[in-house]
């Protein structure tokens, strides 16, 4: 009996151990300043992980022109939806892809984890600086000399997508201020619709709204980081949306789900304040509403102002441990500067390039059918000019987004408020920074 008990206990121990996960640590070698970046001998194959819809088409152009440098595309969920986690795991295991799509807000996170190759020494990279919109370039260099950690791909200037047909039929003026937006929300609600969906998990979109209001969550100086998730501007934005939630003026569907798409497709939701690439999201998620949408600048806090926020925007980074940094850097530079590649990516994913010349490409002057033929990129170009370029991202954004989203989940389902969530997120972020030995001011 005693023996069988021990045996059974052992079996249980073995089974419970299933809970244990195998993890491994990344290399801790110092990031080389600008070391060598020599071409490889012979043909190479690069792996590239991206979630950009249809990025394969642009890569196909490269593969045809460069038989000796073939790029294989691996697609995955969007960064915070799982790809970043994969990258962190792959980096720790030493088998990351050569190239990866990383959004600007995640760059410091990858830099802190030593996940990025410095490609400044690679041919043509430092010289490419002039081709890019200045703030995008400073996001990939962290303001350091002789350092380039990725090539900017696109930016995410924000505007308001709205159902032109519904607004017109209902005789509601298209809102230009947040005050008007709330008034419109009341009228739309009276008709059975919702003006928008408050996304409890897109904290980067919320950050875009704070960005527009002039707030900033992180700043960094010689003494360390300052975390400010509850500043005056953030509070203003949080209280505004809390009011809309409390009065049932916005829907609270989990975003990026079929339920959410269906709400747009069935005309229940009338607007989406989103980034330029959101044009693709609506077109693919709500095909029945084609032709009925239009784009206007974001509603403003002050009438007559023209401030805009930014949501997303990506880079193509050469991940640590790549055997072919030279070729990878050449591909990354080509992908994000070549006219054909930028045009292809705009056609499949509606992205707006980070290069100055790219924005002048014919495709960005064309009307877009889904948006009633409106030249929507002109609105986003204008918004891009009105985005404050000095917004700093913290080094643990994955954690910030998770923690704030957990609080927002509570807020949209009736426990706590958005501001409570941000207050808790503030404490959690400081704790996470400390846990990672990153200097932080309290």
């Amino acid at each position: 009996m005693a023996i069988s008990l021990v045996a059974r206990a052992g079996a249980i121990a073995a089974i419970s151990a299933l809970a244990l996960t195998a993890c491994s640590t990344g290399g801790t070698d110092a990031p080389g300043a600008s070391g060598d970046c020599a071409p490889s001998d012979g043909p190479v194959t690069l792996t590239f992980t991206s979630w950009l819809p249809g990025v394969e088409e642009a890569v196909e152009i490269w593969n045809e022109e460069n038989p000796d440098i073939q790029v294989e595309v691996q697609t995955g969920p969007n960064g915070n939806g799982g790809t970043y986690q994969n990258f962190f795991n792959q980096l720790a295991a030493g088998n990351a892809p050569d190239l990866g799509q990383i959004e600007f807000d995640a760059m410091p996170n990858f830099r802190v984890q030593d996940g990025l190759e410095n490609i400044a020494a690679c041919e043509g990279i430092l010289e490419a600086e002039d081709q890019f919109v200045p703030w995008t370039w400073s996001q990939v260099t962290f303001g350091e000399e002789d350092a380039v950690y990725a090539i900017p791909q696109d930016t995410g200037p924000m505007a308001m997508f709205y159902r032109a047909d519904l607004f017109e039929a209902a005789g509601i003026p298209v809102p230009t201020t947040w005050e008007e937006y709330e008034a419109a929300a009341v009228q739309i609600r009276a008709q059975g619709g919702y003006i928008n969906n408050f996304s409890q998990s897109d904290i980067n979109a919320f950050a875009g709204l704070v960005w527009q209001a002039g707030g900033e969550w992180f700043s960094n100086d010689a003494d360390g980081w300052t975390v400010d998730l509850t500043g005056a501007e953030t509070t203003q934005v949080a209280e505004y949306w809390q009011g809309l939630i409390d009065n049932d003026l916005v829907a609270v569907y989990p975003p990026w789900t079929d339920e959410w798409n269906a709400a747009y497709n069935s005309s229940e939701l009338w607007t989406w304040v989103s980034a330029v690439w959101g044009a693709n999201t609506i077109a693919s998620g709500a095909p029945d509403t084609a032709g009925n949408w239009a784009v206007a600048p974001m509603p403003q806090w002050e009438a007559g102002a023209s401030a805009a926020g930014n949501w997303g925007g990506s880079t193509t980074a050469v991940l640590k441990g790549s055997d072919h940094p030279y070729e990878a850097a050449q591909f990354a530079l080509w992908l994000n500067t070549d006219a054909d590649a930028l045009t292809a990516m705009n056609r499949t994913a509606n992205i707006y390039p980070a290069t100055i010349a790219g924005a002048e490409l014919p495709v960005f002057g064309e009307g877009v059918e889904f948006y009633g033929g409106q030249k929507i990129y002109e609105v986003f170009a204008e918004a891009g000019n009105n985005v404050d370029p000095n917004f700093t991202w913290g080094p643990t954004m994955t954690q910030v987004y998770n923690d704030v989203a957990d609080g927002f989940s509570g807020a949209v389902s009736g426990s706590g408020t958005l501001l409570d969530a941000l207050t808790a997120g503030q404490d959690a972020t400081i704790a996470a920074l400390k846990a990672a030995s990153i200097p932080v001011k309290e």
Binding site: A19, A22, V112, P254, T398, N402
Partner: protein, 303 residues
């Protein structure tokens, strides 16, 4: 001749054992190697990881992993969301496991009863959901619960199965649906191994089917119930797939909804050492809980 065998037998046995050593190795080494490689090594590595902390200079200075003793474990015990998630799955287990095992027991008894026709069909039908991968099951139920996309919008429009108050129980329903057939099968096979003579004796004593079930079958399948109970407790503490899938249906499922989800999101920070420490604590908690249940049920059986 007889004497001869008697004398030679031990020698034969010994040589047989020697001869079989090769065969033993053939059978044991593959298991042993895989067990060590994919079981012991990862466990030991996780324990090792959990003892490390990160040090660096400035923000972007090179990170160095140093021995941190029990630092990560202290963080685990101070981590409110982690303990809240353990509390949540314990509540889940206290309600869901007895219901699931109760239903499994009733179904097994029905299948075993001579009064039921088509028991082969029902046995397969009850078991079929277990063949559905839990992720697929969760997606399917997610759509069934969904207020606008469900085929039963009359029901889902009136009751919100995905709200903060209900979603835990909606997930419990999915888990029950998937695993009830599996547990039923274990209990049913225990029922099949009960000797027919006992039933005969019971019938001679005038016991009806209900009485037989109550006084003979259920007491005799208690070991199977203990086994399925312990498996279910372990499964409950390790819930991951269902809540993770439900994140795309309900905005009430947070990134720290269950202990394994908490570990997953901690690892994605990435704070792998803390995630490893949480894993070790969760494994120990599971072990202690399973062992306690085993001890308690055994004491009761002994009495």
């Amino acid at each position: 001749m007889a004497r001869d065998t008697a004398v030679r037998e031990p020698a034969v046995r010994a040589s047989r054992a020697v001869r079989h050593r090769g065969a033993l190795a053939v059978f044991l080494v593959p298991f042993g190697a895989l067990f060590v490689l994919f079981y012991l090594v990862p466990i030991l590595y996780a324990i090792y990881q959990s003892l490390l902390t990160v040090e660096r200079e400035g923000t972007f200075g090179p990170a160095v992993q140093v021995f941190g003793g029990l630092t990560q474990y202290i963080s685990v015990f101070q981590n409110e969301p982690f303990w809240a998630s353990i509390g949540r799955v314990l509540l889940f287990g206290v309600v869901q496991v007895p219901i699931m095992l109760g239903v499994a027991l009733v179904l097994a008894l029905l299948l075993d009863s001579p009064l039921v026709r088509g028991s082969k069909f029902f046995r397969l039908a009850f078991f079929a959901p277990y063949a559905v991968p839990s992720v697929i099951a969760a997606i399917m139920w997610g759509f069934l619960y969904s207020p606008n996309l469900s085929p039963f919008t009359a029901v889902t429009g009136a009751v919100d199965f995905l709200s903060a108050e209900t979603v835990l129980w909606s997930i419990a329903n999915v888990v029950t649906w998937v695993y009830v057939g599996y547990n039923m099968l274990i209990i049913y096979s225990a029922l099949l191994s009960i000797p027919q003579e006992i039933y005969e004796a019971a019938r001679l004593d005038g016991a009806n089917q209900f009485r037989i079930a109550l006084s003979i079958k259920i007491p005799l399948v208690v070991p199977a119930l203990v086994l399925t109970g312990i498996f279910s407790i372990i499964g409950t503490l390790q819930l991951l797939a269902e809540p993770q899938v439900f994140q795309s249906f309900s905005n009430a499922v947070t990134s720290t909804f269950t202990p394994n989800l908490t570990i997953y999101s901690t690892a994605s920070v990435p704070n792998i050492s803390l995630a490893a420490a949480m894993s070790v604590v969760l494994a120990l908690a599971t072990f202690v809980l399973s062992f306690t249940v085993l001890k308690l049920t055994q004491r009761r059986t002994a009495q």
